[in-house]
Amino acid sequence: MNDLKDRVVRMSGSRVERCMRCGKCSATCPSYEDMEYHPHEFVYLVERGDVEKLLASESIYKCLTCFACVERCPRGVEPAKVVEAVRLIAVREQGKNRLKPDDLPALTDADLPGQALATALRKYAK
């Protein structure tokens, strides 16, 4: 088992080897058309130990954590947790925050709730 795969599996707690490739996670994903790699491909590539191409892909920032794939996976694989683990490995690298506090004023308007800022910083920064 290579190191990156081991990290993703341990962080996510996902049993990627249980995937039976039914594709239900990707079929139900609201971000499907905005992703280069889709939820079932995250699971497959992690299972193969091919994590680098996921780390380099914009797809890790498109997951909404809506948990539709987690709820609907017939094998309990929990793809959203796999995506989250890969994204965290990416943004935990020094200098690799996707969103910086200095970016926020330009993205904020008078109606944007604090909840959005808190959540986005949780997702895109470390």
């Binding site: 948990f67 709730p113 986005a120 949780r122 997702k123 895109y124």
Partner: protein, 264 residues
């Protein structure tokens, strides 16, 4: 009845009505929301990674306070509910999490998942009862067609939240009927509004909001109701089609005649 109340960050600024009308309507039903002292922001999102401990401590502190204030915590915001309930669940299924959290917190006594997390909607359904809600209505919303918007955070993951049937929920529709209005059936009520993606990729988020609002409008909704300030933002700011979106507590207060200028 008294219950520990966790309002969350947004209910203290952008979503003050969500907070105010939750307290006022609960009080009208004989239930006092007792705010947890010195609560901290839940973080808005539950981080599912097993090695994330510090990001969950604010939620744990709220849960421990709930344990000490009668055993339960009620929330109104969908995100706070989701974060608190998922955090609490982790204590029950992951002993390693329990061990690490308590090493950090040194709580007295240590916290082991004793509290239960309830959402105001399920409190209305399961304890106060929609019959009692209906009996308190002085200003029924007759003839109004209301689209209940659940989104993601109230429903999923259902194993941790135990809020309602995750694929065919009914609590908000029953709530709407109790107020004398008619719920609208539409296909996108459980689908994501675009969430925090509005800060990363606004166009992608807009597609999500558009799909939800269009579905509600096509099925004849006069307005939509939500429990989530971020859904409120996305559905009103990011969707091209405009139909009013209101907090469920705001509509409840109107039906109870608690809003200034409300038609009696």
């Amino acid at each position: 009845m008294k219950i520990a109340y966790y309002p969350g960050c947004t209910l203290k600024n952008r979503a003050r009505d969500l907070d105010r009308y939750a307290r006022e309507t609960a009080s009208a039903l004989g239930c006092e929301f007792e705010e947890i002292p010195l609560w901290q922001c839940c973080g808005g999102a539950y981080t599912s990674a097993k090695d994330e401990i510090a990001t969950k401590l604010a939620a744990v502190r709220a849960l421990a306070a709930g344990r000490d204030m009668g055993g339960r915590v009620v929330t109104v915001c969908s995100a706070c509910f989701n974060v608190l309930a998922q955090t609490n669940r982790e204590f029950l299924v992951n002993p390693d999490f329990d061990f690490k959290v308590n090493n950090y917190l040194k709580g007295d006594p240590a916290y082991h998942g004793e509290a239960s997390v309830v959402h105001y909607l399920t409190l209305l359904r399961d304890e106060i009862g929609f019959d009692a809600v209906k009996a308190r209505v002085t200003n029924p919303l007759k003839g109004k067609k209301i689209a209940a918007y659940y989104g993601c955070l109230l429903l999923r993951p259902s194993e941790a939240l135990a809020f309602d049937d995750p694929e065919d929920p009914s609590v908000m529709e029953d709530f709407i009927r109790a107020l004398g209005a008619e719920p609208v059936n539409y296909s996108m009520r459980n689908e994501c509004c675009g969430g925090y993606l509005t800060l990363e990729d606004r166009e992608a988020a807009k597609k999500r909001s558009n799909a939800v609002v269009r579905s509600a409008a096509e099925n004849g909704a006069d307005f939509m109701i939500t429990a989530c300030p971020l859904c409120m933002y996305n559905l009103t700011k990011n969707a091209d089609e405009k139909i009013p979106v209101r907090y469920f507590t705001d509509v409840l207060a109107e039906a109870f005649g608690l809003k200034e200028g409300a038609a009696e």
